[in-house]
Each structure stands twice: as C-alpha cells, then as structure tokens.
C-alpha cells in the first residue's frame, strides 16, 4: 500500500517536472508593439512629434524603452526628421522649428514614424496627416471684464483662411491636470471670445497660465497657445506651521509626559531589582562573616 503511494507520488512529481521543463524550454513569442504618433504645435510654433511604443499585457500598456524610432515627412519622397530612442515611458520625440519646407498635400503634411523591429520585437509604424493651423490668443480687459479672444487660421496659397466651426477649448494650468474653463465652436471668422472667471487661484502674485487648445483634433492634431496673466486670485501657499509635524522643535507635552512616566516607572523597577541583587551579595558576605565568627 505504502509502495503504491510512493509510486503515485513519484509519478505526480515526474509529470509535474516534465510540464515545468516544457514550459521552461518554450521560446517566448516576439513582442507585438503598438505605436501611436502624437502631434503638438506649441505657442512658439514649434512642432513636437512624439511616437509612443507600448506592449499590451493583460490589456494594460507597458512602455517599451530604448527602441529607435525613425521620423519622416512626405508621401513618395520621404524627408527624414530624425531618429530618437524611446524613453522610460516609451516615448520618442523630435522637435521641428520650421515646417515650411516639408512636402504638403491636399490633406496636409504626412508625418510618418517607424520602428524597424528586431528578433524580440516586431516592427511598428504609424502615420498622421496634419493641416498646419495657427492659433492666436488675445487677453485683454474690456470694461473691467477679463476677456479671452481666440483666432485660428491656416495659410492656403499664401493667404490667411479662417478656421471655422471647429471645437476649441480654454484651460488654466493646474498642478495635476489642466482645468477646463471654456469650450465652443469657432465662428465664421475663426474666432471665439469668452469671459474669464474671476475666482481662479493663482500664485502669490495672482499669475495663472491660460491655455487655448485644439485638443487632439482630427485635422490639426494638438495646437495650443499658452500665456501667463495676472488674472488669478493671489494665493499664499505657505500654510501656518502645523502643530503635529516631525520638524517641530519640541514634542507635544502629552507625549513627553507619557514617555517620562513610562520610562520612570520601568527604570525605577530596574533600579530596585539591581539594588536587590546587591542585597543578595551583601547578605552572602554577612553570612560568611557570621560563619567565620
């Protein structure tokens, strides 16, 4: 009976080992990366082209750092914009100061990013067509009302053409994310005007950064204009010294009292016990003396 049990146990162990060994020797599948190309035109008119490379594990994106991404513009004859390694977030970014000389078609400029792949990671590519637009933001006080006026236009055949009926957003920069304060469609002149709220907390001088933005627009990508104005409520962020902090000069009184009582109680007993030990020794000496006498 016992032998049968051992044989069964050995069989289980052997079967388990074989399965584990098979699993261990299986070649891992190459990673299938997912690429995305993000376009941002900033206040100075510079273009930030960012390619993100991620691998989806359990439907969660895991960045792929250290991979070389090549950026191009154009359709048939590609213009190289640069080659950049992805950072720890899996992002590779090129900054273009000027795009006037890039080949443009009826749908705008074609931007193209490519990762060539290797033995472990498959190749990936992504393209976007972006129409170049300009976004202007005018901040002015009109009869004590803080007014934000936006104007968007594109240059077609050397002429300014207003961008009409497109959705545009206005934000204020905050610590964790932008605070939306306005959204509307541009009118036929490519313009939008809104009144700025009065109650937005700013820095100690009342400065806030106002952002006008086409937000990942299907034609223009992300185009933004940022300006700092003293339109916020001046806010002092230095809080009054908190009572319970590790850097206060002295501990709370209750803590000092409790600790003193505890330590005095314990150590006084220790002292009593140590004195008792001396008493034992003294008694021994006394007894020795008595025996001698």
């Amino acid at each position: 009976m016992k032998i049968k049990r051992y044989i069964f146990l050995l069989f289980i162990i052997a079967a388990g080992s074989v399965i584990l060994a098979q699993e261990a020797t299986e070649e891992p599948e190459p990673i299938e990366p997912v690429m995305e190309l993000l376009f941002l035109k900033d206040t100075d008119g510079k273009i930030n082209l960012s390619a993100s490379l991620v691998n989806y594990v359990n439907r969660q994106p895991v960045p792929l750092p250290g991979l070389e991404v090549a950026f191009y513009a154009g359709e048939d004859s590609l213009v190289s914009l640069g080659r950049v390694l992805t950072d720890n977030d899996g992002l590779a970014t090129v900054v273009l100061d000027d795009i006037e000389n890039l080949p443009s078609g009826p749908d705008g400029i074609r931007y193209f990013a490519e990762y060539e792949g290797n033995d472990d990671i498959w190749p990936a590519e992504y393209e976007v067509y972006i129409m170049d637009v300009n976004l202007d933001m005018k901040l002015e006080l009109v009869d004590d009302v803080k007014s934000v006026t936006l104007r968007a236009w594109s240059i077609i055949d050397g002429e300014e053409v207003p961008v009409a009926d497109e959705d545009i957003y206005v934000y204020v920069d905050r610590m964790f994310m932008d605070l939306p304060i306005g959204e509307d469609f541009l009118d036929e002149n490519g313009e939008f005007t809104m009144e700025m709220p009065d109650d937005i907390p700013g820095d100690p001088e009342g400065n806030i950064e106002i952002i006008a933005r086409f937000n990942e627009h299907y034609l223009f990508g992300t185009v933004e204009n940022r300006q700092v104005m003293q339109w916020g409520v001046p806010t002092q962020y230095d809080t009054v010294a908190a009572q319970r902090t590790l850097w206060t000069q002295i501990a709370p009184i209750w803590m000092i009292v409790t600790l003193t009582i505890l330590l005095t109680g314990v150590w006084s007993h220790y002292i009593y016990v140590v004195i008792s030990l001396f008493r034992v020794k003294r008694l021994a000496k006394k007894e020795k003396m008595n025996n001698l006498v």
């Binding site: 720890n88 007993h269 220790y270 030990l277 021994a284």
Partner: protein, 440 residues
Amino acid sequence: MNNTELQNSLLNKFKPVLETTSTRWYVTFAVLIVVFGWGIFGLIKQITGGHIVTGMRDNVVWGVYIVNFIFFMGLSYAGALVSGVLHLFNSEWRKPIIRMAELITVISLIIGPFYILFCIGRLDRLHFLFIHPRIQSPISWDVIGIVTDLFGCFLYLYLSFIEDFALLRDQKEIKLPNWRVKIYKWLALGYTGTPHQKKIIHSARTIMSAMIIAIAIIVYSVLAWIFGVTLQPGWDSTIFGPYFVIAAIFSGSGLMIILMYIFRRLYKLEEYITEKHFINMGVLLLVVAAFYGYFTFCDYLTKWYGSVKINSQLIDKLFAEFNFMFFFANYIGIILPIVIVGIRRFRTINNITMASVIAVIALWVNRYIIVIPTLETPFLPIQDSREAWVNYTATWVEWSLMAAGVAIFIIMFKLASKFLPIISISEMTNEDHRTLKILE
C-alpha cells in the same frame, strides 16, 4: 547549597553536556560558523559596494532586513510574554521549559536590531539617533524601547540564572574547568539559598516578570506603530499594535515548541519535557492562531470593503503577485496549527512540532507581505523608474545575512545550553512536592 534528589538527577542528566563536547557538537558548530562567516562576507560586500548589492532601491527601501528585524523582535517579545506570564501565574508545567523562553527573548533581542543596522545606508550617522533623538518620531520610541527592553530582559534572565549559577558552583559531581567555576562563583553573587536571599530573588523575579510583559507589549506595539502611524496603504491601521503583539506570541510559541522538540531529542529529556508540555504549548498556539487569524481577517476586510483605490490596488497585488505567500501565510499558517492541535487524533508531539514549524515560517512570510507589497504600491505613479527599482527582489547578500542571523541564533543557543542546563534546575527543586508531579 543542599541538593535534592531531583536536583542531583537533573545534574546527572546534564553532566555529559556540561562536562564534555561531542564531535557532532563541533561539526554542527563549524557548519554554523561557516554560514555565519558567509553572512559576514556578504556584509563586507555590502559595506564596500554600498546598498546597490541589495535588492533595496529608492521605492522599496525596506526589504528582507526589516522583515527579519520584525521577526526576531517578535520572537523576543513572545519569549518575554510567555516566560513572564507563566512565571507570574506560577504555572507548574512551565518549569522545564521556561529557560528556553527566556533564552529566546534575550538571543532574539540581541540579533534583531542588527538587521536595522544592515538596512541603514549611513551608519556613520547612527549615533545621531542617540544624540539628536526626536521624541515625536516612532523611530526614537523604538530605540528607547529596545534599549529598555534589552536591559530588562538581561536582568530577568540573570535573575533566573542566579540560583543555577550557585548550584553549579557548589556541585562536586560534574568536573568543570576552573575558569568556569570561577565565572559561576562570580555570577552567583554569593547566593547560598538562605530564606532571605530566596525571598529577595523571588520578589525581584516577580517584579521583572510583570515588567517584561508590559514592556514586551509596549515595545512591540511601538514597532507596529512605526508602520501603523504612516499613511501607507496596508500599514495605516489602528489594530496594528495588538495585531503585531498577537503575531509575535504566535511565532514565539511556535519557536518554543520547536526548541522543546530539539532539546528533548538532543539531551534525551523525555521524562522532563513531556507530551503534556507540547499539548499545553500547542493549545496556546491554537488560541493565539485563532486570534491572529481574526485580526488578519479584520485588517484585510476593512481595507477591502473601504474600496479606497490605493488599498484596492494593494489587495489586488497581494492576490496576484503575492498570492502564494498570502495563501501560505494567512490560510495554511493559521488553519493548519488550529486543525492539528484542535483535533485530538492529530495532537501528537511530532504533529504539533510540524504545525509550529509551519506557523513560524508563515509568520515570517506574513511579515514579508506586510512590508514589501506596500512599498511596491506608492500613492503616486512611479515615473522614470526602472522596473527593478519599483519591484523588490532580495539578493544573495540579503539571504546570506538572514542565514547568518539564524546561524548565530542557533550558535548562541548552543553555547548557552553548554554553559547552563537548558532546564532550570533550581526551578525544578524549589517546590519539591508540586514539581515532582511533573515527573509522574
């Protein structure tokens, strides 16, 4: 001092151990020294190479060292609690095993704080803890607590040894080297067993047992508060103090049973450490396991039910990446001792010892899953960090120093049991008619 019959019988029992040293003793000692030496080699690597040789990084700044610190301190406080309570309530069955509890207390308390030193990056600033203590900091409470506890435990241990020192000083049966007799003589403080001396020692021991129970509870609670007062997920809990104390008693009683088993076998003490002792300690283990399981359930239930995002992330992590450890520490480690001791059929010495081994290992794992997953679950997403910085894996240096800690624990126990009988002879002979009942 006049020896009783039982006293002489015990002295004879321990005569070979105290008088001679076997080859097996030397071999195991040498093996332990090699393990300890390997740990020292790892420590030298760490000191010369810096903490980069460990798995600790910016995000997970505490690793196996802190786990070992909590674990050893827990064993120490449990030893103190068990021996203190048994002495204070004058439990007759305690007598053959109380010395083991006392030794666990002191030896663990010596080893535990070393792991803090291994963890500290700037040891050159260690003295700042003493010259610039900040009363508001739980770290300062811990330093004060450990120093107070260490002194108290040494005093308590010494008090329980005095009568045995005197006994060994006066006995003529065992041939001991002169230097050892001199040490016994010096440590015995001239104790001759007069009623007055006995009364003083008894009163001092009673005071110290009450003291070390209180200190053990306070100091281990302080250790728990180092975690509990922070706002970290998994740590910020009001029950961490009592939870840690119960967990400590759980591991301590487990270790007691393991040591009882080892010394019983090693020194052939079957007539002194009987099945009754194992069952009594097993029942203690069962009761504490039930409480420990209850606290664990309460802690995780409230965290899970609250659905605070960061707590949910932590619990998800525990059930995913740490699922085996979580299952082992919080299911097997609790249920198995309860089943083995709870069902009469399974309640044998071997089974109780096996349950204790599992309980002790499970408790260590429990400490691991308290420390590491929390540090791997920060409030803000970790940016621009390498994978190895976010997820902790202990290196060979850390494992070596852990093995060295276990080795030195055994070495100290071996040396202590060579120097003094592992059963308190004086305890066994004081109240002869009641003590003899143990042998019946």
